[in-house]
């Protein structure tokens, strides 16, 4: 009995180590790099808190498609673009501060819904390869976004202010200043503890979103989504409209990503019109995975752990690299490599696990069949 339980314990320890190998690896990387970087703890804490406020909302937008079994939603970039369009319009209309943010979010909703519906429909057609399809989708819609922003804005869609319009008369400039709403949400409720500035209002918004996610899991729709995520066939047999449920999950994710982008950009204080959204998808996905999530399972805890570990690595790696090799570029490339390697690793683990369970399932079925025949 006692022997049995130790075995089980050891087994669960091994399982724990395997499941959280990525976070553990990152803890080790950070532990090595932080002293080498020579950055002060107060600076690091400040940076992490800022980034947590800035990125959490975006990352949480990834959770719902994972719940619905659609994997990592690389198409969240679509929502980010919708958010940017909202912000560009709002800054042309000179709506500033928090009302400007709220209006930009509202404006992003119709775009997000449209893009989300399109994306969801496409992903339903590309079943079994949702991730690569959503990934290519982000490139495709990026082309459409560029068409709209660079050629239609100012010529078809009225843009008044020359501060955001290209001098040639149409198209949006490379950067759009958001000075009038810069960190307005972060500083709405000012709080500084021991030199660490805490964006209380932003965290409150994130908290509301977390509560929404927790609540959503328990609704009928949320339950349906989990059922679809577990087994599409079973879900269909039990009367769930699988296609519709999957599309809704993508639409919600896209809308949330649009909101998240507005929060992200109010912290940055300007929009890099043609590149702000491009890194967002990879960044958020890598962060979530570093937090210990996998392609088919992610929780809110993964989000916050991920922000701490991934961004810590991101801040310290260049300086640590410079300290070791005397060349700061190596550190830069190192963090790029680690970001991609983490995603690669997570994808490989997910696929191998999926295959293993499939094989096990197959064997079980075979056994059952044989038993049946033996009878």
């Amino acid at each position: 009995m006692s022997k049995n339980s130790t075995v089980r314990k050891r087994g669960s320890l091994a399982a724990f180590l395997r499941h959280s190998s990525v976070p553990i690896m990152f803890i080790i990387i950070c532990a090595i790099c932080i002293p080498l970087s020579g950055l002060s703890p107060s600076y690091l804490v400040n940076e992490i808190v800022t980034r947590m406020g800035r990125n959490s909302f975006l990352i949480i937008s990834l959770l719902i498609p994972i719940m619905a079994g659609m994997g990592l939603n690389f198409g969240m970039t679509l929502g980010a673009m919708a958010g940017e369009i909202g912000l560009i319009l709002v800054s042309d209309w000179q709506i500033i501060g928090i009302p400007g943010m709220v209006l930009a979010m509202i404006l992003s909703i119709p775009f997000s819904i449209l893009l989300g519906l399109f994306c969801g429909k496409m992903l339903n057609k590309a079943r079994g390869r949702e991730m690569i399809a959503s990934y290519i989708m982000s490139f495709f819609i990026n082309g459409v976004y560029q068409l709209v922003v660079l050629y239609l804005m100012g010529s078809v869609i009225p843009i008044k202010h020359s501060s955001i319009k290209l001098p040639r008369g149409y198209g949006i400039r490379n950067t759009v200043s958001l000075l009038s709403m810069r960190q307005k949400l972060d500083n709405l409720i000012p709080l500084t503890i021991k030199g660490v500035k805490i964006p209380v209002a932003t965290f409150l918004v994130v908290l509301v979103l977390c509560l929404f996610i927790v609540w959503f899991r328990r609704t009928k729709l949320g339950q349906d989504m989990r059922a679809v995520g577990q087994d599409m066939e079973v879900a269909r047999d039990s009367g769930i409209n699988v296609d519709r449920t999957r599309i809704i999950s993508i639409v919600i994710s896209t809308i949330l990503a649009g909101f998240g982008m507005v929060i992200y950009l109010q912290n940055m204080g300007n929009i890099a019109t043609y590149s702000s959204h491009s890194q967002i998808g990879m960044f958020c996905i890598a962060t979530l995975l570093v937090g210990g999530a996998s392609v088919d399972k992610a929780s809110i805890g993964n989000v916050f752990l991920g922000v701490i570990l991934f961004h810590l690595m991101f801040i310290v790696a260049p300086r640590a690299g410079a300290a070791i090799t005397g060349d700061s570029m190596i550190g830069e490339y190192f963090r790029v490599f680690v970001s991609y390697a983490v995603i690669t690793l997570a994808l490989i683990m997910y696929e191998t696990n999926k295959r293993k369970t499939k094989i096990l399932e197959g064997e079980r079925l075979k056994l059952e069949q044989m038993e049946e025949e033996a009878k």
Partner: protein, 355 residues
């Protein structure tokens, strides 16, 4: 061309559209319109055509490298950067060892080959363990390996003064000129010039040889086995084919073709591009073969040729025609929408997902 096809498919235009694919048809029509328009808007047609042929000759083998993996059911080779890295290692090492002229090209291929075999085997082994999820993982294997090599280009002890940064004396440059090495070696072989029109016959011949070799290979016993694995893996397994081994072979072939492809590209382009450059080289190649009529699990040499011509045709023609026509350079946006849209279209087609 259009006419003959309509004659053949008498009365069933919709059938033709279906078999050829609407997006492909639109793209082909678009290119034809561009070609017809170009003399009227003042673009120089012969030099445009020269350009298209040259670009076809640079990119052909990279697109060809998609074929083996598609055939064996591994999907589109988004992991092309891995092959490109092998090629880059061959190129840089060949120069480092002091080879020049045409010989440096041969040596580059010789050095790239073992790297391609090694990386291809690891890559193939990996893809065999994750059947069904190849394309996404291939993409990220490509990204990881490119960013890993970014560090290596800085760290590896290259010494050749033509390649390392002049000031620090270490770390490879981002672009390395091939002047004096294998710049234009293939293109200059039997080059034909008629007025403004020039044809790099050597490069085209090189492409033709490799394409023919692949075509012939696909008709050998192993080749047909590869097609069988791609179209119906369980049937192939039942027929006694070692599925994993065939898939591995196809991945190695694709990787090696990628390595040779980038070397041929470089000899035309005149420069070696390192660091982030290989990052997105897979996507144009993927969309080219899809534009040519391939699908996620079906590709032929014809698809490669037609696709590369169409893709490169649009890439070269749109900027000049657009600029002259509406004084608005929308070519980049059009290229992005067309090529990505094509990939998206192919991914959403109903095909048998390989198991």
């Amino acid at each position: 061309m259009n006419e003959t096809v309509t004659v053949k498919e008498k009365g069933s235009i919709s059938g033709f559209v279906k078999s050829f694919g609407l997006p492909r048809l639109i793209i082909a029509a678009f290119l034809i319109v561009l070609l017809i328009l170009s003399p009227f808007v003042g673009a120089d047609l012969p030099s445009q055509i020269t350009n298209i042929i040259a670009r076809f000759s640079w990119n052909g083998i990279l697109v060809l490298s998609m074929v083996p993996m598609v055939h064996s059911g591994c999907g589109l080779n988004f992991g092309l950067p891995l092959g490109i890295i092998s090629g880059l290692l061959g190129a840089t090492l060949s120069i480092e060892f002091g080879f020049t002229g045409g010989l440096s090209f041969v040596v580059a291929i010789l050095i790239a080959t073992p790297f391609a075999l090694l990386l291809g085997s690891i890559y193939g082994w990996l893809l065999n363990r994750i059947k069904g999820g190849e394309m996404m993982i291939a993409t990220y294997v490509g990204f990881s390996s490119v960013s890993f090599m970014c560090m290596m280009w800085l760290i590896l002890p290259y010494k050749s003064p033509t390649m390392v940064w002049g000031l620090s004396g270490k770390g490879l440059r981002t672009t390395i000129s091939l002047e004096g090495y294998y710049n234009q070696v293939l293109a200059d072989f039997l080059r034909i010039s008629i007025g403004k029109l020039t044809i790099p016959v050597g490069t085209l011949l090189f492409f033709a040889i490799l394409a023919l070799a692949i075509w012939a290979f696909l008709r050998t016993k192993t080749g047909t086995a590869m097609t069988a694995v791609g179209s119906n893996p369980s049937f192939a397994r039942a027929a006694g084919i070692n599925v994993d081994k065939i898939r591995l072979l196809s991945v190695i072939m694709s990787t090696w073709l990628g390595a040779v492809g980038i070397l041929v590209y470089e000899q035309g382009f005149g420069f070696i591009q390192l660091y982030m450059a290989p990052f997105y080289m897979a996507l144009p190649a993927v969309s080219a073969i899809l534009i040519g009529g391939a699908s996620v699990n079906k590709a032929s040499i014809t698809n490669v040729i037609i696709g590369t011509i169409l893709f490169q045709g649009i890439v070269t023609m749109t900027p000049t025609v657009m600029n002259n026509l509406i004084k608005m350079d929308m070519s980049e946006v059009i290229r992005i929408i067309v090529s990505q849209g094509m990939i998206l279209y192919a991914l959403t087609r109903k095909t048998e997902v390989s198991k």
